[in-house]
Symmetry: C2
Subunit: 437 residues, 2 copies
C-alpha cells in the first residue's frame, strides 16, 4: 500500500514533538497501522528559527496554503493554535478534501460546529483528541467506549497551570502571585497567563467535553467561568483543616432542567482521587449511568504528551481512509443531525455546597445574625470554624461549609450577610463538590 502523506501546520512545541515521535517510534507505528505514514511537508512562520526536531526529510515552507493545496497530502495536522487563522486554514483544508487533525481547543470550542458541518459536507474527518487534556485519551473514551451510557456528569482538572499554582499554594504555603511567578519561571504559565488563570482555557475544553458527553452542540459562550486569582492562601489552609483540597474544576452536569457548564475553584474531600491530582497533571472524571464513575489521568500539556494524542488521531484517521464516511466515529459522538438542544442552565439554577470565609467584628451577636440569615434561606451549616482574634486585631475570620443548595439562594444569603455592619470586606465563596455518587 502507498504510504500516507501528512502535512504539518506549525512546528512549535507540539509539532516538534510529533516529528520526534515519528523518528523514535516510526517502526512501531507502522507495525500498528499496517501501513507507512510519513510527514512530507511542514509549515512554520519563521523558517530561520532553530527547531527542536530533525527536519531533514521534511520540505519546509512559510506558506501553509501551499501544503493545503498539495494534492499529494491526504492529512493536515493543524498545530498553530489561536482562533480565526487556524479556522480559515482548517476550512480550506476540508474544502480541498483533506482530513484534519488538530490540537486546537480554542478553535474547536468556538468554531467547531461550523468546521464539523463543513467536514460532513466534504466527506472528510476532523480529529481533535489532543485538544482536550493533552495526552489523556478522554475524547476517545467518551465517544467510543462509554457509548452504552447516558453520561450524567463529568468534572475535570483540565488546566495544568492552575493546578500547579493551587498545588504549590498548598504544599509550599505560597500566595497566588508567588506561585504564578514560579509557574512562569518554569515555563508552566505563559507570559500573559490570562487564558489559564481566568479559566478560559478550561472553558474551551469543558465546551468540547460536554458536547461529546451529552450530544449537544458546542456552546462556549454559555460556560460560567471563574478563575483562581481570588483564592487566598488562608482559604487553602482552612480547607485543608476541614479535610478538603481546593481544585480548579470544569464541571458539566445534566439535570432534568438542562445542562450545567461551569469552571470554578472547588473544594474536594481529601480522599477523593480528584484531590490527589497534583502539579501540572490533569484528570477527568466521568459518571455514566451504567459504568458509574470512571477517571482518566495524565499530562494535560507539553510537547510529547500532546504529540502522543495527535499520534492516536493520526492512526485512527489512517485506518479510516479505507472505511466509508458513514462508518467513522461521529465528531461529537452522535451523528450531527441528531444533536439535542437541551438548554444550558444559568449559574443561579445550579446546586452545590459552599465554603464561605468572612471577617467579622469580634463582638457578641454577630454569629447569631449570620446564622439567622442562613436559616431563613434554608441553608444548613455542615461545619463551622471560628478562630480567636490575632493579637491587636478587632476582627475574626469565620469559616463555614454549607450543605447543597441552589446558587440563587447562596447569592441572596451573601447579599444579606454583606449588609451586616459587623461583616468587614468581601466574603470569599468557594464551591464544594463531593463526587460521592
Amino acid at each position: 500500500m502507498e504510504p500516507v502523506k501528512l502535512g504539518l501546520l506549525g512546528l512549535g512545541t507540539v509539532g516538534s514533538g510529533t516529528v520526534n515521535m515519528f523518528h523514535r517510534a516510526g517502526v512501531e507505528i507502522e507495525r500498528r497501522a499496517g501501513r507507512q505514514i510519513v510527514v512530507t511537508r511542514a509549515a512554520a512562520q519563521d523558517l530561520s528559527k532553530p527547531r527542536d526536531c530533525e527536519t531533514r526529510d521534511i520540505e519546509l515552507t512559510d506558506d501553509p496554503m501551499s501544503i493545503i493545496n498539495d494534492p499529494d497530502i491526504q492529512v493536515i495536522v493543524e498545530l498553530i493554535g489561536g482562533y480565526e487563522d487556524a479556522r480559515d486554514l482548517v476550512l480550506a483544508a476540508i474544502r480541498q478534501g483533506k482530513h484534519v487533525i488538530t490540537a486546537n481547543k480554542a478553535m474547536i470550542a468556538k468554531y467547531g460546529n461550523e468546521i464539523f458541518a463543513e467536514a460532513e459536507k466534504h466527506g472528510v474527518t476532523v480529529a481533535f483528541e489532543a485538544a482536550v487534556a493533552g495526552g489523556i485519551p478522554i475524547v476517545k473514551a467518551i465517544r467510543e467506549s462509554l457509548v452504552g451510557n447516558h453520561i450524567q456528569w463529568l468534572a475535570g482538572i483540565v488546566n495544568g497551570t492552575t493546578n500547579y499554582i493551587l498545588t504549590q499554594m498548598r504544599d509550599e504555603g505560597w500566595d497566588f502571585q508567588t506561585a504564578l511567578d514560579e509557574a512562569q519561571r518554569l515555563g508552566y504559565a505563559e507570559a500573559d497567563p490570562t487564558f489559564d488563570v481566568e479559566g478560559i482555557d478550561a472553558a474551551h475544553k469543558l465546551t468540547i467535553l460536554a458536547s461529546i458527553a451529552f450530544g449537544v452542540p458546542l456552546q462556549f459562550d454559555k460556560v460560567y467561568t471563574e478563575g483562581i486569582a481570588g483564592i487566598g492562601r488562608e482559604d487553602i489552609q482552612y480547607a485543608e483543616e476541614l479535610g478538603y483540597s481546593i481544585k480548579h474544576l470544569a464541571i458539566a452536569q445534566k439535570t432534568e432542567e438542562g445542562i450545567e457548564l461551569r469552571v470554578h475553584p472547588t473544594l474536594v474531600p481529601h480522599r477523593r482521587l480528584m484531590a490527589n491530582v497534583g502539579g501540572v497533571m490533569n484528570a477527568v472524571m466521568v459518571y455514566g449511568d451504567a459504568v458509574g464513575r470512571t477517571m482518566y489521568y495524565g499530562a494535560g500539556a507539553g510537547s510529547e504528551p500532546t504529540a502522543s494524542a495527535v499520534m492516536g488521531d493520526i492512526l485512527d484517521v489512517v485506518r479510516s481512509l479505507s472505511a466509508g464516511p458513514d462508518n467513522r466515529v461521529p465528531y461529537l459522538g452522535f451523528q450531527l443531525g441528531s444533536l439535542s438542544s437541551v438548554p444550558v442552565l444559568p449559574m443561579e439554577a445550579i446546586e452545590t455546597a459552599y465554603y464561605l470565609r468572612m471577617e467579622v467584628l469580634d463582638s457578641p451577636g454577630v454569629m447569631a445574625a449570620v446564622t439567622q440569615i442562613l436559616a431563613e434561606l434554608n441553608i444548613s451549616i455542615e461545619a463551622l470554624l471560628q478562630k480567636v482574634p490575632e493579637p491587636g486585631q478587632d476582627t475574626v475570620p469565620i469559616i463555614m461549609l454549607t450543605h447543597r443548595i441552589r446558587e440563587r439562594q447562596m447569592n441572596e444569603a451573601l447579599y444579606r450577610i454583606g449588609q451586616l455592619e459587623a461583616v468587614q470586606g468581601k466574603i470569599v465563596r468557594i464551591r464544594l463538590e463531593y463526587f460521592d455518587e
Copy 2:
C-alpha cells in the same frame, strides 16, 4: 442499511446487563452507530431460570451452536466465562465467519494466541475490552490512543474483590477472614474465592495488558502470582504508620533484560493515586515514554459496568463491518506477524523495594545481627520500626523498609535472617513500589 444482528451466548450477570442497556439506550446507540443493532437470539444453560432482563423480543435457546450456525447472525457476544467450553464456541463462531466480542479474561489469557490466529485466518475480528478491568476502557487506551509511545511499565488494581478486602482491613481494622466473609456476604466474592484471592484472575488480566502494551504474545503461565491471604492486619497498620497503603497490584515492566510480569501485594505511598483507589474499584496506571504516567479508573466488574465495555466493542465491531480486515485495530495492538519475543524475567531478576516484618527475641544483639546480614548483601534500610514488647511477651516485632534491590538478594537475606536463632516464625515480606517516575 440492514440492522446488524447479534447473538448472545450467556444470559447471566453481564448478558442481562447488555440486554438491559439495549432497552435503555438503544436510541442513542443507533444515533451513535448510524445503524440499528439488535440482539435477536440468546443462549442460556437453563431456560427455566428467571432472568434479570426483558427477553420478549429475543429468541432463547439452550443450544449455543444453533446461534453460531445461524446465517442471519453476524456478531457473537460470548459471556459464558471459563476456559475450554468458551474457547470451543468462540473458535466455532470464528470458523463460521462471525465476529466475536468477549468478556472472558481467562479464555483470552490462556487461549488468545490460538483464537487470534484463527480469527486472522477467517478475516473476522475478536474484541475483548470487557475482559480487563470491566468498564474501564483500558484496552482501547493502550491499543489506539497511546500508539506513539513505547510503554515502559503498567501497574493496576485489576481485581475488585482483593481491593475490597484490603480496603476493609485498613478502614475497619478487620483481619483477612472477616473481610473475606463480608465480601462474600455482599456478593463481591464468589463462594470459592480462590481465583480472586490467590491472584489468578489478576494474572489473567495482566497477561492481556502486557501483550497489548509491549507487543508480545500472551503468556499466562509465566506470570509470578502471589495472593493476599498472608497479609496480616498488623502489616496494614504498620504500613499506614510508615505512610503507605497495601494494594494488590498487577505489574508489567519492560527492562533491558526482558519483561517482568508479577501479581503481588504491594506498599504504595499514601498520596499516590493508586493508594486512593478504594473498595471494589479498579485502576490501571500506564507509563509511556512520550505521554508519561496516565491512569484509568472505574468499576472493574458487575453487570452494568462490564456491559458498558461490551457495548463499546459492539459499536467498534459494527463500524468495522464495512472496513477491510487490514484496517481494523490489531488484536494485541500490533500486527500478529510482528509480535516480539522478549523474554519474561524470572522473579529473582526483578528489582523492587521491600517491607519486612519479623518477630525477634527481645535480647541484645539481635538488631545488630539482622542489619549485619543486610549490610553484607548491600541492602540499605530506608525506615525501621521496633516496637516495645507487649506485657508478658518475650518477642518484639521489627518492621523495616528497604531501598530497591534485586529479589534474588532479598531471598538470600531472608534465608540468612531466618537462620538466626532469635528470629521466631516466618518473616513477612511485602514489595513496595513508588510510581514516582
